[in-house]
Every structure is written in structure tokens, then in C-alpha cells.
């Protein structure tokens, strides 16, 4: 294998294996950016992985008052699941419990989409008959009376079946500190890319998993090949000098946006060079048989 080198860091010739997902995007506005962010962070909380959270969600980007439908500060949120029915349930529950409840909030569609998901069209029932529908410019909005005035919520938002989940980068380094710093930089760079999220805490996951386990009923377990404390006992992928590995998982509305995010992330990791303590950049896959989307790092680098 002819591994590539950037600034002394080895970019392993491998690929990230990603899966098709269904995704949606909504825009949350509030009187201040602080409250738009509170609503968005609450709505996208506990949404790191579909394995147990039901959805993967995160903040796409912050919108200026000029970019939102009601001229207030806004936040665009992305939500992904494995099928449309689950996405509808997650969207209703999350917007209903976390946005509707947040002071001064409003919620709008953030995606045209091939199909529509109900947004205000189901949340309107909270209005108990006092809700009002308003059509502005061909789009329907619901005004739902709440204790601080009205919750304005667009009737529907778009759904895309072309979303991609599980784009990833694995960062190997000689110290925990160095790997964390490099990954933070990568998450920062990826946050600039539109249409993608990094759903894990702070965008970084330290407990990468493999499929299956020795225990019955445990569908995923620790990725032992990348655990530095197990180097001597398992078929390790790590050189002796590697002390920590962290992964950045990327979900996006399109294959292209995920590739773009991986490109930005990879270069942000490599920015400090090998002297910072980063040794390898690689990616996670299952041999290529499970997911239809393969992001080859040597193509991503370019």
C-alpha cells in the first residue's frame, strides 16, 4: 500500500464506508441568537447515534436575521434517521418537546426535499382548537397559542432520501492532548460546511465501535483494533507509539457534502503536521460490503 503523507502524517490508503439515511432540515428562530441556540441544542441533544438515540442530529449553521423567514436570528438544524417513518416521529417529538417549549421560538422548513414531513401540521393540535392557519406566499404556517404569545410553525418541511450517514475520519496520535486538539480543529472546519453535522459530543467520538460482540444481544462493541490498551492482545491497527485515537463521524444531506466535510476535516487535522504528535489519519469501514458509499481518503485529500 502506498500511503500518502501530508506534513509527515500518514494518510492511510483506505476508505470510509457510509450508509444511506433519510434527513431533514428545520430552521429555528428566536428573539435572540442565544435562545435560538438553546432551542436548537435542546432539540439535537441525545442524538449522537441511531443505535440508541433514535436519530442523529446537530446544528448545520447559524443564520443571520437576513436569512430567516421572520427576520430574527436563527439556527438551521439537521436530523437524520434510517427511514422516513422514524424521522417523522423524531421530528415531531423533538420539535414538540424542545422547540415549541422554548421561549419566543418559531420553526420553519429548512429543506425543499423530495417529500414532505409534517411539522406544524401535527404540532398544531397542541392549540386545542385555538390554532390558526396562515398561508403566506403559498406556504402554510400555524400560529399556535402558547403562554408567551404564539408559536409560529410551518406546516411541513422537506425530506431527502439522498442523505448519507457515517462518513468518518480516524485520527491517531502520540498524545491524547494532540489528538483532541487536532480533532477540535477538524470539527470547527467541518462546521463551516453546509448540509453536514458531526453528531457526537463536540463532534468527536472516542468509543468507535465494531459490529457485534462476544455477548449475546450486544449489537456493537468497542473497536478493539484501535484501543491503545489492547495492542498486545488483539489484531491491532495501532503502532506502539500511538496513545489515543478519536473519530469524527459526519452525516450530510448529500454524498457531496459529506465528501467536502471530510476534505475540510482531514486538512484541518493535518494542519499542525507530525510534529504536533499526530501520526496517522485513517477511516473506518466494514470491508466495503455493508455501506454503498465509499469515501477513499486518497480522493478526499485532493
Amino acid at each position: 500500500m502506498a500511503d500518502l503523507k501530508i506534513k509527515g502524517i500518514t494518510v492511510v490508503e483506505t476508505f470510509a464506508e457510509a450508509f444511506p439515511m433519510v434527513g431533514t432540515r428545520v430552521v429555528i428562530t428566536a428573539p435572540t441568537l442565544k435562545w435560538a441556540l438553546i432551542a436548537a441544542q435542546t432539540m439535537t441533544g441525545f442524538a449522537t447515534s441511531v443505535i440508541a438515540c433514535g436519530a442523529e442530529a446537530g446544528i448545520d449553521r447559524i443564520l443571520s436575521p437576513k436569512e430567516t423567514m421572520d427576520g430574527r436570528p436563527g439556527v438551521a438544524v439537521l436530523l437524520f434517521t434510517m427511514d422516513a417513518g422514524k424521522l417523522q416521529t423524531q421530528l415531531r417529538n423533538r420539535v414538540g418537546q424542545c422547540v415549541l417549549t422554548s421561549p419566543g421560538s418559531a420553526c420553519f422548513a429548512g429543506l425543499e426535499g423530495e417529500k414532505k414531513l409534517k411539522l406544524g401540521a401535527s404540532l398544531r393540535f397542541f392549540g386545542d382548537g385555538w390554532q390558526m392557519s396562515k398561508v403566506v406566499g403559498g406556504r402554510r404556517f400555524w400560529r399556535i397559542p402558547v403562554m408567551d404569545g404564539e408559536f409560529l410553525c410551518e406546516a411541513t418541511t422537506g425530506l431527502t432520501k439522498k442523505a448519507v450517514g457515517g462518513g468518518n475520519l480516524l485520527v491517531l496520535g502520540k498524545s491524547h492532548k494532540a489528538v483532541l486538539a487536532a480533532c477540535e480543529r477538524a470539527v470547527e472546519a467541518i462546521s463551516e460546511i453546509e448540509g453536514v453535522i458531526t453528531p457526537f459530543p463536540g463532534g468527536i467520538v472516542r468509543s468507535g465501535s465494531k459490529v457485534g460482540s462476544k455477548y449475546k444481544g450486544q449489537i456493537a462493541s468497542t473497536n478493539d483494533a484501535y484501543c491503545p490498551t489492547l495492542k498486545a492482545a488483539v489484531k491491532t491497527e495501532l503502532p506502539l507509539s500511538v496513545e489515543a485515537v478519536m473519530e469524527i463521524v459526519i452525516d450530510g444531506l448529500t454524498k457531496e457534502s459529506v465528501a467536502k466535510a471530510m476534505h475540510a476535516g482531514l486538512h484541518a487535522v493535518a494542519k499542525g503536521g507530525a510534529k504536533e504528535g499526530i501520526t496517522h489519519i485513517t477511516a473506518g469501514n466494514y470491508g466495503g460490503n455493508l455501506g454503498p458509499h465509499h469515501f477513499h481518503l486518497k480522493e478526499i485529500v485532493a
Binding site: 427576520g71 382548537g129 392557519s133 396562515k134 404556517f141 400560529r143
Partner: protein, 267 residues
């Protein structure tokens, strides 16, 4: 291609039914066929060729020049394209229209935009009674689209309106928004007596407080509405700028009927 233009030769001797002269109905017709279309409403036959000088070819944009208050049913039931009226329009202007755009540089007669379902109808000057109201044979008024009246509007504006947006820049007559089922009327100036009589649902937005308010409307006080921000931005983006702000006094009514409608008086 230049717009298909109908120039009125002389003031018509009778009321004219111009409903055949919409872009969708004219497309594909030859000049000769167009001139042969019957538009008379009395026993004296009248064809397009008798009344209008016809120029141009592009039927997707129809222009009327020099029309007067006897030119009825301009753009009635139209489903696509654009009509420009360089003059006045008679009754039933854009009544039952579904799509497309009508622009009138003068005034319109009764029942302008009556029971219209979609599209945009812009009247630069005044509109007669029952604009956006119930077309003959219908049970509901406007059920979609945008109707703007640059001047004054007659009585029973938007009667039994179901959906859509109506904007009056001048004064509106009595019983504006009467028996409305839903939809929005924006009054930039004054309004006559009994506005919102029998209002079931829907919003009457007043830039100025009406002189009299029906006693069957209940006050909710001055409140903030994010809906206004949304509407104001859309209006500005569609070159109909109106300063709404975000605060308004909300009155709910008409409590003598369903009472889920509202008057929003800008504060």
C-alpha cells in the same frame, strides 16, 4: 413576440363579456379566429373584431387598452399567463381566476376577484362592491391568491372569504370581511361600519384603528406577533411593502358566531 393587444375602438354600446380573452383560452388561436369571437351580451351581435383593434401575437400576455367600466369579466376564470389592463375594468374582473397575473391601471367594477382561487390581481385604483367576495353561483368568496386594491374598496369586501390575502390601500366600505371563513385582509387606511360582521375565522389587519368596532369582538390587549414579521418580509419581497412592526391589539370575534377570527390593530 409582442403582447396580444386589444385596443378599444369606441366606447361600447353594450356590456361586453371579455372572459374568452384570457391567455389560456387564446393560445393557439389565429388572428382571424380571435376577431370572430363573440363578446356581446345583447341581441345585437358583437365580435372582438367589431369592438377592438387587435395587434400582436403572444397570447401569454394579453393587453387591453382604453377599456371602460362596461368591459366585464376581464380575466375571469383565467388559469395562466398575464393580463394588463391599460384603462378601467367592468364587473367580474378576474372573478374565479385560478392562476396567473392581472394588472389594472385604472379602477374595477363590482365583484373584482370574486371567488378567485389563486393568482395575483392588482388594481391600481378603486374597486366596486364585493371585491374578493362571492361570485354569482358560488357559496364562498376568495379562496386563494392575492388581491390588491390601490384605491378605495366598496362594501362587502372579501365577503365569506375562505383563503388568500387581500390588501386595500385606500378606504374600505361597510361590512368589510363580513362572514369571512378564513384568510387575511390588510387595511392600510379606514374602514366603514360593521367590519368583520359574522367573522368566523381569518384575520383583519388594520394599520389604523377602525372608527367603530362591533361589540361582538373581545379585546385580548396589545401583543407581539411573529406572524407579522413573516408577512412583512413576504410583502416586501413581493414589492408590496407595508410596515407592520410586530405588535398589535388583538380582538377576537365575531363572538356572535364561531368567534375564532381576529382583528389585529397595529400598535
Amino acid at each position: 413576440m409582442s403582447a396580444l393587444t386589444f385596443q378599444l375602438k369606441n366606447a361600447p354600446e353594450e356590456r361586453l363579456d371579455l372572459s374568452p380573452l384570457t391567455p389560456d383560452r387564446l393560445s393557439g388561436l389565429k388572428a382571424k379566429d380571435i376577431e370572430a369571437l363573440s363578446i356581446g351580451t345583447t341581441r345585437v351581435p358583437a365580435t372582438v373584431g367589431d369592438v377592438f383593434k387587435v395587434k400582436g401575437k403572444d397570447a401569454s400576455k394579453v393587453v387591453f387598452v382604453g377599456t371602460d367600466a362596461r368591459c366585464d369579466k376581464i380575466g375571469a376564470g383565467m388559469a395562466e399567463g398575464a393580463i394588463v389592463v391599460d384603462g378601467n375594468a367592468g364587473a367580474y374582473l378576474g372573478a374565479g381566476m385560478k392562476k396567473g397575473r392581472i394588472e389594472v391601471k385604472g379602477s374595477a367594477g363590482v365583484l373584482a376577484g370574486a371567488s378567485m382561487a389563486g393568482g395575483v390581481l392588482d388594481i391600481s385604483r378603486h374597486a366596486g362592491e364585493r371585491a374578493g367576495g362571492i361570485n354569482v353561483g358560488e357559496t364562498l368568496g376568495m379562496r386563494g391568491g392575492v388581491l390588491t386594491i390601490g384605491g378605495n374598496a366598496g362594501p362587502l369586501l372579501g365577503e365569506r372569504m375562505r383563503r388568500g390575502l387581500l390588501i386595500v390601500s385606500g378606504d374600505a366600505g361597510d361590512y368589510a370581511g363580513a362572514r369571512m371563513v378564513a384568510g387575511t385582509i390588510l387595511f392600510k387606511r379606514g374602514v366603514g361600519a360593521n367590519a368583520g360582521f359574522g367573522l368566523r375565522r381569518g384575520s383583519l389587519i388594520f394599520a389604523k384603528e377602525p372608527k367603530t368596532i362591533l361589540p361582538t369582538f373581545g379585546d385580548c390587549g396589545v401583543l407581539e406577533f411573529d406572524y407579522f414579521r413573516l408577512l412583512e418580509r413576504w410583502l416586501r419581497a413581493n414589492s408590496k411593502p407595508v410596515k407592520l412592526g410586530a405588535r398589535a391589539r388583538r380582538l377576537m370575534g365575531d363572538m356572535s358566531v364561531l368567534g375564532k377570527g381576529e382583528m389585529l390593530i397595529l400598535a
